[in-house]
């Protein structure tokens, strides 16, 4: 008996490593992380200074707003929905912030106004989607038009933001170690990721989100608060879009109704690349974060290369999107049979 245990013990270490396969639910996430590591590694080998930690930190700084948007999008996609309005809400948020500050509001009041308006818009969209059975795609399309329209109505010109505290947040570097630094926007984005991960993993709200994405009728029959949660995820997405707008304004200190055209696509692409299943029910917020970083690395690649033009970014994102969509499809097909 003890001999048998011993033989199992000796072979199992190698066998375990050799035959180890991670739980399938983590597979897409692992693929994405490997992709990110691979791309970053390839960049470090190919270009000088690419491997510098500050490149990674700049990636976070430049994409902090997108991380927050992708977090909101994760909630929506996990329920099997989609939110097309986030890009426009970002533009609207920068406009509301710039306009209220210009007309003499205090900074906290202006920030509050942005978050309240964007959350309210998200809530209204959620109500339309749940209580009137309007497809998420169409309802949020209305949200897209509405937010862009509000932004245009506030002003068609760009409004600069000159508030001193806001500028301090925008430009004050946070030194991490030696010469490496980040900005406050990265802290906010990471807090958003952590909070979202906690909510999705450990709260009733989060579990209901996964349940709705898995099968809405079952969730309803189980007595879960489907309505409240469905409206809630769009409210969360609206809030995240507002917060994303604030972070975006930190990067380009101005309000402009032409900001962030098509950013909803980037958020959706990040979520898909991050392994969040578009039919709902499976995926992790952390995946959305890595998805954003992958998109950012593509951008960095093209900047470092210098011979490639910036529109290759769009093509590369499209190709990646395609690859991941096909992988998702193959995975779901295998499970179905």
């Amino acid at each position: 008996m003890s001999a048998a245990v011993a033989t199992v013990g000796t072979t199992s270490l190698w066998d375990r490593i050799r035959t180890y396969s991670p739980p399938p639910r983590f597979l897409p996430l692992i693929v994405t992380i490997a992709l990110f590591a691979g791309m970053f590694g390839a960049g470090s080998v190919r270009y000088e200074n690419f491997g510098d930690p500050q490149v990674f930190l700049s990636l976070m700084i430049n994409n902090a707003h997108l991380i927050v948007l992708a977090v909101g999008m994760t909630f929506v996609i996990l329920t099997g929905g989609i939110d097309l309005s986030v890009g426009s809400v970002v533009a609207m948020s920068t406009m509301i912030l710039a306009k209220t500050l210009q007309s003499g509001w205090s900074l906290p009041a202006a920030i509050l106004a942005v978050l309240v308006v964007s959350t309210l818009l998200g809530t209204v969209l959620g109500l339309l989607i749940h209580y009137f059975d309007i497809q998420p795609f169409i309802a949020t399309l209305a949200g897209l038009f509405l937010a862009r329209g509000v932004a245009y109505l506030i002003s068609i010109e760009s409004i600069p933001i000159t508030d001193e505290t806001f500028m301090k947040w925008a430009y004050e570097p946070l030194t991490l170690w030696s010469t490496y630094w980040i900005r406050w926007s990265v802290v906010v984005a990471l807090v958003a990721v952590v909070v979202a991960a906690y909510v999705l993993a450990f709260t009733r709200f989060g579990r209901t989100v996964y349940a709705i994405g898995g099968n809405e009728s079952s969730a309803m029959l189980m007595g879960l608060r489907v309505g409240a949660v469905k409206v809630g995820v769009y409210a969360v997405s609206g809030f995240c879009a507002g917060l994303g707008g604030l972070l975006f304004a930190l990067n380009t200190p101005s309000g402009n109704s032409l900001h962030a055209v098509g950013m909803e696509l980037d958020a959706i692409a990040a979520a898909v690349i991050g392994g969040i299943l578009l039919t709902g029910g499976r995926g992790y917020v952390f995946g959305a974060l890595v998805g954003v970083l992958v998109l950012g690395v593509i951008q960095t690649f093209i900047t470092f290369d210098g011979t490639l033009t910036s529109w290759w970014t769009r093509i590369a994102i499209g190709v990646l999107l395609l690859v991941f969509v096909v992988i998702q499809r193959l995975m779901t097909r295998r499970q179905a049979t």
């Binding site: 009137f132 795609f137 038009f145 329209g149 055209v261 033009t309 769009r314 499209g318």
Partner: protein, 365 residues
């Protein structure tokens, strides 16, 4: 114009046991049709315009062709109408095509770079060759979309999102990131030319609608498309080639988007890959939804799409005409989307029906 409004209050003559549907009068047929609301909304917009500018509907002949606001609206609505036409059939199969704006941009980019690169830039054959090339590329892109949806079985919204994201990059690649300007009279005639006093762009668009109507309503194709939209699996089992039909509608959608892109590029004699056809997919979807085609698939109305496209273009013209800044256009579109969806929503309809039982009795559905 008011003729269509008057019958509404008087209840239609119904048979004793509600068999009016067996011999529908024109009035009941009209009231029972999904076209009622879009047409009434379009007429309302026109009335608003006439009140704001009494000469709004005037049409006169200038330089041998018709000239006036109405003609302008017809001309301007051609691209949206074309894209919406393709979108109608795609939506009828329960799909959606988000990539049409990008396809339109690619069509414009290909056509313009071909014209600029040709030996004789102003020649008629140059324009024809360039447009043929552009449309061929669009058909290939449609084949690609159709492949992803019908063969790989990817959700349409995601499958076409791929090309929506990558397409503008491709268009930029074709034009090398430049705003390409062309100088070819035949090409610009696509948008600004007139035949028999009518704008060529409108004739192309309406011609495509009529052709599509003949193909879908005079052959079995329309029924097959609807069958696939209602239940792809069941229609496949019933012997319908669901895959081929789905593939075909995406190719048709790509072709229509290409035509629209050519007209838009011809209108300015140039192509800007970043802005050509930007958000046209959203306008097209809006036109389709206004026209009464259900987004859940299985039922479509080409006439409704025509009215929807005209409505969107008229709305864009109405807003500055009544003195509202044109930036508000987006707000009005949002209101229209919500209103139309609420009208289609079973729950909202049920709420309305309780309050107005007389109307529902008058219109057996």
């Amino acid at each position: 114009m008011t003729d269509t409004l008057t019958p509404a209050p008087s209840p239609a003559p119904t048979g004793e046991n509600g068999h009016a549907a067996a011999r529908p009068t024109l009035v009941t047929r009209f009231l029972g049709s999904t076209l009622v609301w879009p047409i009434l909304a379009l007429l309302l917009l026109l009335v608003v315009n006439v009140v704001a500018t009494p000469s709004f509907l005037n049409v006169r002949i200038q330089d041998g062709h018709l000239y006036g606001n109405v003609i302008d609206i017809a001309r301007n609505s051609a691209p949206v109408l074309l894209v919406a036409l393709g979108m109608t059939l795609v939506i009828a199969t329960r799909g959606i095509d988000l990539s049409v704006g990008a396809i339109a941009a690619i069509a414009g980019a290909v056509a313009c770079t071909r014209i600029v690169g040709a030996g004789d830039e102003a020649a008629v054959t140059t324009a024809i060759m360039a447009c043929t090339w552009a449309l061929a590329v669009c058909v290939v892109l449609g084949v690609w979309n159709g492949f992803l949806v019908s063969v790989l079985g990817i959700q349409p919204i995601i499958a076409t999102l791929v090309l929506m994201v990558a397409g503008r990059g491709l268009a930029m690649l074709v034009t090398d990131g430049q705003i390409t300007t062309v100088n070819n009279d035949t090409f610009s005639d696509l948008a600004t030319g007139y035949v028999l006093g009518l704008p060529i762009a409108s004739l192309i668009a309406v011609g495509m609608v009529v052709a599509a109507a003949i193909f879908t309503r005079r052959t079995a194709l329309g029924m097959l498309i609807e069958a696939v939209g209602i239940n792809p699996e069941a229609s496949r089992l019933a012997g319908v080639r669901a895959r081929t039909i789905i593939w075909t509608v995406y190719v048709f959608g790509g072709f229509c988007a290409g035509l629209a892109g050519l007209i838009i590029a011809a209108n300015t004699n140039s192509v800007n890959a970043n802005s050509l056809g930007l958000w046209i997919e959203l306008d097209a979807i809006l036109a389709v939804v206004i026209g009464g085609t259900a987004l859940t698939g299985g039922r479509f109305s080409l006439a409704g799409t025509l009215v929807g496209a005209l409505f969107i273009t008229t709305l864009a013209r109405t807003i500055p005409n009544v003195g509202i800044p044109s930036e508000a256009n987006y707000l009005f579109k949002a209101v229209v989307v919500v209103a139309v969806c609420l009208l289609q929503s079973p729950r909202a309809r049920a709420a309305l029906r309780v309050r107005r039982p007389a109307v529902s009795k008058g219109n057996p559905v």
